[in-house]
Symmetry: D2
Subunit: 328 residues, 4 copies
């Protein structure tokens, strides 16, 4: 790989750039708004003034890593770069794209001789230090070209989770990295990863919801325990069956503020959960925990549910039941 | 049956008394607060000044129908009546008691020679005109004594749901009435009835929730339909697969006010759904629709969910995601 | 309406034709396989030898009712009829089409001056006697042309569900019939109807599943009741809160065979549940009961679930738990 | 602590004994069947011939750790030991007891001057090397007596999960160890831990279920990917958001056999999930992911579901739908 550029410097794009810079890579960056470019330039990145400038700064074979919102923004960037890149170059979509878009995009670029990789990127903003888990779909030759980048972005041996479970059977298998196969498979596997993440977070939330209820004088006073949620979360981080990075993060948040007062509890979802639910049903796979997690997020953002009003109205209709008044 | 008394004149107790009065029965009534007694006295009931007075007004074999809140109130009444009633009398628990309480209560009364019937009573306040669906557990001889009452309370042939489905195979089977078997089975069957009711209401709520969302300019403007929920509900009342009394009630409510503005959407639950979920799990029967219905009701009454706050906190932890602010 | 034809004589197409014939309509019928044509000809229908013949037999304005499998079969028929029909004619899609297809089909036909109606048709094979519930989307003028057909197909006043709920506020509102609005809205409302049907059926199934478990010596012997499921279902048909056509059908099935031995319990789904779940999520409406019903059906058709094997493997991994062997 | 005994040498009891022996503790062991005693004697344990012998071998203050099946076995042991132990001794219930039993047991023992600790023990058979996560309820003075044991059983600093999340704020907080408060709180927190575990495992299962479906030629051939589930699981172990011990275990199982042929997919549940669901509903906390996980396990063990048969029967009733035949 002779030249490496990144287009899209949101939180994740910056994190990718930063980890590569710290590992000694030459990184060229471009973004629509200039502030993140300036920020990364101070950290050693080469700044580009336009997409054309970004391409122009790189030597062949050029590699450009897109880290943009899924959908239109990514499509527009691919269309623009299809005209700017040359045969032998590689374009990476590292964002949370729908895997169904990958095949079409790969076909478009293939006509220009440009290879396309769909890379599911997990690890969040902590990836700068912790490394990223990379799920890479697309042709092996293009992956080979980017091998030095994948080697630096992935976590390395030191970050493997420890414990007495058997080590990876193939010592040549790079931690936090997998070639998933044909175009689209990288984002497909990332979608499934995120679907699992939804279910895991919901499971953790339900547990702490019950702990919090039990810790509160309002419920079941006779059996009330004076539970310290931060201490419990800390204990679970080590050697428990549920020890996990998400429990680490829950513990960190609870240690900062056991009441989590900064969070209103209205949870966004970013698409992958919906896509996976849809794909699972098409494949005749029941995913009730995922559905539960998705519905809980949707419900958390609703102020009122017409369906609930109708249940109250039916209860009034058959039994004369009066429901409690609205929240004020 | 020589004398019939009712103790407990809430909405359902009044409805039972009223239907019996209209069908020419002599009905003696007692209640802790005097107003409902006076109300029913105007409609022809004999009023009692105390539980002892109620028992004293009746001739043997006495029949007393309890229509009290489940739990302690019913237990106290049964204890008091165990001392007042005589061998050969019949005590009916027509409320929404937990079926597990019936066996113990029947044993207690049996020691005094008093028979106990656990009667699941469905039909709501409309039962005055429409009749009640009665699920009766306990000894056949005691049920036989109360036959004239059950005959008047149950709906009669004219209320059978119509349509081309085969008529009841046994013409001797009384509509809206079933002898369920041993003590407790009447309330057990009523519990299952209510569990089905929870799931049906949730299903209807989800459908109208989507119709309401689609009827509103706020969502998916390009595909928005100008749906009239009241007209749709009316259409579904006749000949559709989902035609049902609950759809009748939904239609009535929507015709009164398509916005259901009087209802805040905070739904109570009265116990049977919880009991059935518990029993189903003990019997290794999955009941996901019932669980969904119960969770939706619980969630509708919560202002905040600590678990949701924790999901937001974890999302901030790994991805720096900022969630929307609290409701104001 | 001068001439009325039906293309597609499956169970529902035959039922539509039969009800219209019984009410004195002249009905022309066509089907790919000849047997149903011959059957209906004996009942008074005019048989057509081809789609062109069907159109040729009718006088303008022609009305053709399609009752075909959703998807390709319906699309092919519409394409063929677009060439055969004339301006002023009306084409009805009475099948279970996805509502998203209606707009495109209406546009295509509008170019030829042919009106398109998307009609959700509920009521099943019993509609011959009981009438059909019709949810009609499309232009009012075209609906007006078909008014005599809709009048005969819908149930009529006598089939309205009874009871003490308020009658339809607008006496001009025809029972079992609703004009839903723009193209696609008829099938949209039918999709929601079927989604509610899924949830209702799941709720009923869960209840009888528990009753059956309780009626069986295998579980919880001390609390076993000797429940008669057919008698219970019959009782619930009248005056209970869950009285409904589905309970009528459940009672009929249980009266035929309380063991339901003819049914293996592998349940198909026909699309609408999946579509509604998808649409609900797009509209940010949680539908957990529908999801439960859909997942239960999918699961009922699976012989093995890899995910369950993995849970067993993880349990073996952390706790050495040995699971029971496979079904034999 | 002068003397330490273990009663109950199942998989977990042996693991506890083994870790303590390896860390230099003197451990006395007893079990109903003699083989595990002999096994541990070879590893350095002192073997007891009876419960009385076990108690007799220890010096005051004696500590006995019970690792028995929840329920009757544990109750009988506590009753027997209440007579054998002396004031100042400590009895530990390290098994998966229902937290509601702890208060009663603590009261019983307190009358004899014996302290009772309810210790939730997580970590499985790997705890020998990895350490156990301990959730300890009961009086502080008794916990203090057992401090050397807890210190050896818990994982130690080296087993803390790594990564860039903030370290435990209180350096004095021992990893994998928490004092949860009053009697019962240790098992309560363990119950919640296991409930979270259920949900996490279900989330992982759903993800791999979809990966397996996609990896198989049977579904959606055009979009089929040739996914290597073992390699994907290995990649997720490092730096992904879902990195966790359960993913480690899933990876180990899939690397042993990507088909998991040894597992039939009939999953047991051991009580805690049911207890938590019950408690959550009592505390008005919705736990849909937990319910999903529990229902999936129950369903995995059923050969047939009467409710599903009834849905098929209703579908036949209204639409004449013929379902696929039974599994053969």
């Amino acid at each position: 790989m002779a030249g490496f550029g990144i287009y899209g410097l949101g939180r994740m794009g910056q994190a990718i750039a930063r980890r590569l810079l710290r590992q000694g890579h030459e990184v060229h960056v471009y973004n629509r708004s200039p502030d993140p470019i300036a920020l990364l330039a101070k950290e050693g990145a080469q700044s580009a003034a336009s997409l054309a400038d970004l391409v122009g700064q790189l030597e062949a074979p050029r590699c450009i890593w897109l880290m943009l919102p899924a959908g239109e923004a990514t499509d527009q960037a691919i269309l623009a770069l299809a005209d700017l890149l040359s045969p032998g170059d590689v374009l990476v979509d590292g964002g949370n794209s729908n895997w169904r878009d990958a095949h079409r995009r790969a076909m478009l670029l293939e006509q220009r001789g440009v290879a396309f990789l769909d890379v599911g990127t997990s690890g969040g903003v902590h990836g700068v230090e912790r490394g990223f888990c990379l799920m890479v779909g697309g042709p092996d030759e293009a992956i080979d070209i980017l091998d030095p980048v994948f080697d630096s972005l992935s976590p390395g041996r030191s970050q493997e989770s420890g414990g007495p479970t058997p080590p990876n059977p193939n010592p040549a298998r790079r931690p936090g990295f997998v070639r998933t196969g044909a175009s689209g498979s990288g984002h497909f596997v990332k979608m499934v990863h995120n679907g699992i993440e939804y279910g895991m977070m919901q499971a953790i939330a339900e547990g702490f919801d019950l702990l919090a209820a039990t810790a509160t004088p309002a419920t079941r006073a006779s059996e009330k325990f004076d539970l310290k949620l931060d201490a419990i979360a800390d204990a679970w981080r080590s050697s428990s069956v549920i020890s996990s990075w998400l429990i680490d993060l829950a513990a960190a948040a609870l240690n900062s503020d056991p009441k989590l007062s900064a969070f209103a509890g209205r949870i966004e979802d970013s698409g992958e959960g919906r896509w996976m639910l849809h794909d699972a049903i098409e494949s005749n796979i029941p995913t009730p925990a995922l559905a539960s997690a998705l519905f809980a997020r949707i419900q958390s953002r609703r102020d009122n549910a017409f369906g609930n009003q109708l249940i109250s109205a039916m209860r009034m209709g058959f039994g004369g039941h009066k429901e409690p008044p609205a929240r004020t």
